[in-house]
Symmetry: C2
Subunit: 228 residues, 2 copies
DNA sequence: GTTATACTTCGATGGCTATCAAACTATGCA
DNA sequence: TGCATAGTTTGATAGCCATCGAAGTATAAC
């Protein structure tokens, strides 16, 4: 037999329409209950239950029991990254004829597990690079000294962040824009900051990030983004 | 309908045992013919043909016709990276009880599409970091000035390499060792160098890299790797 | 307690698809 | 002109699995 790990199992779990819908729903980072996921995937509760146990057994999801509810969540950043990579690859396979109407709000700004993606995500990334706060040499992304000061002035506590095993900065190829946005600890911090300040709201059961008009203005100000 | 790209199609293609065997066989980087792949996967030529057209249509493989042969190959580095990521994730899911005998040669040194992986791969990586030729700050890997000189002395032409869109250095989490080895252009160059100098041979239809005793010695010398 | 809600288990059904052999096309070789 | 090899197409078969509803368990609310 082969030494290869069970790549088939993992891919097979993702490669089924209903389960994939559940997984992408969970890419919003929020934990969802079994029934919420059943509604999302438009199936009966019994089939949902079946799928969810498979996903948990396959180590793609973790589950937390709370009273009579069961909350499901992606098992760690690794799984989210895998899904992102799949999204990117399959996006590049799209034939031009396939371009349907495709929800514009989702293209504009959405959550990519725990950071900001979509049009706003890449605009932000470009702005940070343009101001020499971030440096992207093609193969890697890192914070400049200037950038470090900038984010400290915004309240980022680098001592806490650096304790994490996760990279601080990480570029993530955006599947809708085909350009980079920022993931990693700092990407997570920025999204958190946006939400905490009330500049945007997360629509329930969706990955769409809805900026308020004022919030968007402040967002542009904070990161010195030129209005198009 | 969803805006999501056809993530299901991609994952579904990989999530079938026979196709997965073909894909992993192609991770050795070499192009294989349809019959070779049929033998590898232990199926009839007709089913192989069916699978291969699906993989090509799904943009996971490219095919090149040469006489009456058809050579199949992974479609670019992206696909190889996706497979590697799947390997890594599914390796971390392995329960300790699953650890079978698991081919030791494959654990020692193998090809990961176009660079060296396995025990030797991570030893090499650690040695380079230890000598300050490579720097790994946890989130990114890059060449130091000293490292640049070192590789130039070995004959690396950085002008040519930098023309590529691919990152020069890139750490890649090894699924057998659970530690980093070096991918990217430089990783490819090093493997090439090893093969060109005849230090090791690639076993046919396998990802195993077989070092000769002399070759291994020279390999250790060149990269100043201490013998354990 | 009783009722409602959340989830699981079971058995039956239906559809999808991997598989093969056999017939077919195409290319190379003698 | 044939024969052999490489790959494809077709039709039939069989196994797998997603799906549902209904019955069963568990937890919460009253």
């Amino acid at each position: 037999m082969s030494v290869e790990p069970n790549i088939v199992e993992i891919a097979g779990l993702i490669g089924e329409a209903t389960r994939a819908r559940m997984l992408t729903a969970l890419m919003a980072g929020k934990a969802l209950t079994a029934t919420e996921l059943a509604v999302e995937a438009d199936i009966s509760s019994s089939t949902a239950s079946s799928h969810l146990t498979k996903l948990v057994n396959g180590n793609l999801l973790v589950v937390r029991k709370q009273g009579r509810h069961k909350y499901f969540q992606l098992k760690g950043v690794e799984v989210a990254e895998l899904l992102e990579k799949l999204l990117t690859i399959s996006a590049s396979n799209k034939t031009p004829t396939t371009t349907g109407p495709s929800d514009p709000a989702l293209r504009k700004s959405r959550i990519c597990y725990d950071h900001l993606a979509g049009e706003f995500g890449v605009t932000l990334y470009d702005a940070l690079v343009g101001q020499n706060l971030l440096i992207d040499n093609g193969s890697e992304t890192s914070l400049t000294a200037k950038g470090r000061l900038f984010f400290q002035s915004l309240g980022v506590d680098f001592d806490t962040l650096s304790k994490s095993k996760r990279p601080l900065c990480k570029s993530c190829l955006d599947w809708s824009e085909r350009r980079n946005h920022l993931a990693g600890e700092l990407g997570q911090w920025m999204l958190n900051d946006i939400m905490k300040k009330g500049w945007a709201t997360k629509q329930l059961d969706s990955r769409i990030i809805q900026f308020t008009p004022q919030g968007l203005k402040r967002f542009y100000q904070q990161y010195d983004i030129a209005l198009a």
